[in-house]
C-alpha cells in the first residue's frame, strides 16, 4: 500500500469541493479536471460525490446535453462551502506543520 494513495485520498474531497465551488460541474468534467492535477482512479469520484450529496454539501440537477446522456451537475450548498473552508484551513495548517517538521530534519 503506497502511502501517497492515502495522501491523495484525503485530498480528493477537498479538490472536488474546490472544483465545484469554482463552478457547477458534472461527473465526467470533474474526473477530467481532477486528473489534470493528481493521478487518481476516476471511478472513485462517484462514490465520493454520492457521499457529498448525502451529507448535504452538494445538490444535483440534470441538464440535457447534445448527443449524449443528460449531465448531472453538482452544486455546492452553503454548508458545503463552510465545509470546504474548514477543510482548506485544516489542510494548510497540516501542510505547514509537516513541511516545518521536514525542513527541520537533517535528511534533505
Amino acid at each position: 500500500m503506497d502511502i501517497s494513495i492515502q495522501f491523495k485520498k484525503g485530498a480528493l474531497e477537498l479538490c472536488v469541493l474546490v472544483l465545484i465551488h469554482e463552478r457547477d460541474r458534472y461527473g465526467y468534467e470533474l474526473a477530467q479536471s481532477v486528473s489534470e492535477h493528481i493521478e487518481v482512479a476516476e471511478g472513485a469520484l462517484y462514490p465520493l460525490l454520492r457521499r457529498l450529496v448525502n451529507e448535504g454539501y452538494c445538490t444535483t440537477y440534470l441538464q440535457e446535453s447534445t448527443g449524449g446522456p443528460p449531465r448531472k451537475y453538482y452544486k455546492l450548498t452553503e454548508s458545503g462551502k463552510a465545509h470546504m473552508k474548514k477543510l482548506i484551513t485544516e489542510w494548510k495548517q497540516f501542510v505547514y506543520s509537516v513541511s516545518r517538521l521536514i525542513e527541520r530534519g537533517p535528511i534533505l
Binding site: 503506497d2 471511478g43 465520493l48
Partner: protein
C-alpha cells in the same frame, strides 16, 4: 475489460447497497462511459481510467464494508492492494519420530508431575479447611459446652485458634492463586511442547 464487463462486475460487488442507490451509482458510471466515448476514448481506456471495480465497490460501500483494508482509488494496474495481514510464516514442524519421543517423554514427566500438582491442590485445600475450622472453633466450643463441662483454658485456646485461623485464611488465598497459576503454566507448557512451538 469493456464497459459491460466493468458494469457487471461492479453490479455484483455492490449487491450490499440498497437497489436504488446501486442503480444511481451504476447510471453515473454509464454516463461516464458515454461522455468518455464522446471525447473519442475507447471503452478499454475509460475502464483503465476508472480503476479497479473491486476497489471502487469498496469505496462505494464505505462504512458498510467491514474489512480494514485501505481504500484504493489510485489506479495503477501493477499495484495491487496488499492483504490486511501477511500470512504467518509456516512454523517448522518436528519430524514424526521426534514427535513420538516427545510424547513418550512427556508421558513419563506427567506421570510424576500430575500427582504432584494434585498434591499441591490438596495442600491448599487442607490449609483452607484448617482455617475454617480454626475460625469456627468458638462455635464448636459453644456446642461442646451444651454437652460437656468446658474449662477456661479451652476458651483461651479457642481465641488463639481464631487468630491462627484468620492468618491461615489469608495464606490460603495466596496459596490458591499460586497453585492456580502454576497449574495453568503447567498445562500451557504441556500444550506447547506437545504441539512443538515452544
Amino acid at each position: 475489460m469493456n464497459k459491460n464487463e466493468f458494469l457487471t462486475l461492479l453490479n455484483t460487488q455492490l449487491s450490499q447497497l440498497p437497489p436504488e442507490e446501486k442503480l444511481e451509482l451504476l447510471e453515473d458510471y454509464e454516463a461516464h462511459f458515454a461522455f468518455g466515448k464522446q471525447n473519442g476514448k475507447t471503452e478499454e481506456e475509460i475502464v483503465h481510467e476508472l480503476g479497479d471495480p473491486h476497489e471502487l465497490a469498496k469505496e462505494a460501500l464505505g462504512e458498510r464494508f467491514t474489512s480494514r483494508e485501505p481504500v484504493y482509488w489510485y489506479h495503477d494496474p501493477s499495484r495491487r492492494p496488499e492483504a490486511s495481514a501477511p500470512p504467518a510464516p509456516a512454523r517448522r514442524r518436528r519430524g514424526a519420530t521426534a514427535q513420538t519421543f516427545v510424547i513418550i517423554g512427556m508421558f513419563f514427566i506427567n506421570l510424576v508431575l500430575a500427582p504432584l500438582m494434585l498434591a499441591f491442590w490438596t495442600f491448599a485445600a487442607a490449609i483452607t479447611i484448617g482455617a475454617v475450622a480454626c475460625i469456627a472453633s468458638p462455635v464448636l466450643l459453644t456446642m461442646d459446652m451444651l454437652y460437656n463441662e468446658v474449662s477456661t483454658a479451652k476458651w483461651f485456646a479457642s481465641v488463639f485458634m481464631v487468630g491462627i485461623g484468620i492468618l491461615l485464611a489469608l495464606a490460603s488465598k495466596g496459596l490458591f492463586r499460586a497453585v492456580l497459576i502454576s497449574t495453568q503454566k503447567y498445562f500451557s507448557w504441556n500444550h506447547q511442547t506437545a504441539k512443538g512451538d515452544a
